[in-house]
Chain length 333, copies 2
């Protein structure tokens, strides 16, 4: 660091802040759209892809209306250890017990309040679906939205101790902005339930609610006795995961993405990336690899299915450790 | 007509064409965004509504991201006598018989080819659903799209004898443009099946495929044996009609429209308009009334349900006869 900079830090640290912002602006203007990414092969492949498909002189040119990108959410745009929507389940249980204190001694309320993981593990698939119904349905869409907004206003990550907004990956925000600057229309395609993500998609990612695809419940429209609203009914529709992701992309968008980005965890994004790769246009597939136990979390799949597919089909693997200079938006947790 | 104009028509008709285009441009520039609409109360209510909700000084201001409009399609954006998708069923049956000539003597192929309406009436709900499966499923999404494109390239209206593109209502195109100019995001919300409409939504209406909500079939994603595609499976999901329209608007958009437009026919749009009216923002509801037997078709509902709701809730009723100076885009059929 130069003596001049040291001087500014000691005596005029606000100058340094302005200098850093100017440097960042300059980097942007000079054409580094991904400043939090290290200059690695995957970063170069992204920039090469975007430059090519937006070049009208190229045989690989893709018209703006077909520049669809789909991103998984948990583990791809924000951290997923633990999955944030699980914390919402706990939040809702606490709310319900506040409303009806007698529930405190009833299961599964009791187990959730006491963090009795042994009991929760005995619930099985049916018990977990019941828990989703209990915490996510039986109310109007308006009331559910209010509950989600209250949750995001107060929740902190149980390990990292920061608000959820700070679990968003800074390099991915830069990628989203870069794609938008190049007239991509970006969708989230997540296993999480759709209104939960829609509540924060614009604020956290700049993605409008109508560009979020997720898991849904059954609904009924009610227009009587002073109620004019969607009622949230029990019964989760098929989870928007694995082979359901292309199916729902077809339902919601009716176009294949030319860029799809998921993460290595439960193999949930393989089909979405394959569907993208079947596009008649050139396409790019990306998988976030959680290989940075120091700055985030470190985990893989038992069967290595996502990585195996990445090697087989030439997908880009984003190493959080090597490819990302910063992990989280805002102050590092 | 002035002597001057008569002179131009006789000797220099291309001058007239330029003059008419200039007049039309002037009208647009001078602020009549709906030149094919007569200066009626409903036209004024539309312009007043749009002017108010886009005025940042107004207490009724609606931010651009919440300017959602939903339009029914059959009978609202194009003529529905007969429903155009019914013609596609016939088109597909003829295709299938060409591929497998032995089907010619089998039902329901035989009845369709012979226009045997008496037989078709005996089919009932189950028979009609089977007919939809037969003509719309059992293929990849790619192949289905090709079939739809072939249909739209050749089909003509059985009574009016014009291509389907000319069954679009000119005043509605002006309304769509006017709304887009004012940063509305416009969705089609139709009982027709979604990919059928998506195939022409951009070309006919300037509405991108991903902003079309319609009835869907069951799908499965297949990625094996050289096939990487969505397979269209038998089994129509619930018809996107009546109370299902608000439900699907919730699934697809997650926001209530501030403007909803349907038509008087089967009462299919009442719930969509009511859902719109429940918006926390100011909103406008419109119903097209087919009361012009000379220039289009004349029909109402047996129970008058749509009109009754329009009177009860103060919705705008668009009289095709009195409110629209022109009906169809392009040359009048």
């Amino acid at each position: 660091m130069s003596a001049l900079l040291r001087h500014f830090i000691r005596d005029n640290s606000w100058w340094l802040i302005i200098a850093v912002q100017l440097l960042s602006l300059t980097a942007h203007a000079q054409g580094d759209p991904l400043p939090s990414w290290n200059s690695s092969a995957v970063k170069q492949s992204i920039i090469r892809f975007v430059s090519t498909i937006t070049n009208e002189q190229s045989t690989q040119y893709v018209p703006p209306e077909d520049r669809i990108a789909t991103f998984d959410n948990d583990g791809t745009l924000w951290a997923e250890k633990p999955v944030i929507q699980e914390q919402f389940v706990v939040f809702r249980i606490i709310q319900l017990v506040k409303q009806t204190p007698a529930l405190r001694n009833k299961q599964p309320y009791k187990a959730i309040l006491e963090k009795n993981r042994a009991y929760l593990k005995t619930l099985g698939r049916k018990g977990l679906l019941d828990l989703m119904d209990l915490t996510h349905t039986g109310m109007t869409e308006t009331d559910f939205h209010d509950a989600v907004m209250r949750f995001f206003a107060v929740v902190k990550h149980p390990v990292l101790g920061v608000p959820v907004a700070q679990l968003v990956y800074q390099p991915q925000l830069e990628l989203l902005n870069y794609l938008r600057d190049n007239q991509f229309k970006i969708y989230i395609c997540s296993g999480g339930t759709v209104e939960f993500i829609r509540a924060i998609s614009q604020k956290y990612y700049g993605i409008p609610p109508e560009q979020v695809i997720g898991t849904t419940f059954r609904y009924a429209y009610v227009d009587s006795a002073g109620v004019n609203d969607i009622m949230r009914l029990k019964g989760l529709n098929p989870l928007n995961d694995k082979r359901e992701k292309p199916v729902n992309i077809q339902y919601y968008i009716g176009k294949r993405p030319i860029l799809a980005c998921g993460n290595i965890g439960g193999g949930g994004d393989i089909s979405m990336l394959r569907f993208c790769q079947g596009n008649k246009y050139p396409s790019l597939q990306l998988l976030v690899h959680h290989d940075d136990g120091e700055r985030e979390f470190e985990y893989e799949e038992d069967d290595n299915e996502s990585l195996n597919n990445a090697h087989r089909y030439g997908w880009g693997v984003i190493s959080m450790k090597n490819d990302w200079q910063h992990i989280f938006v805002g102050p590092t947790p």
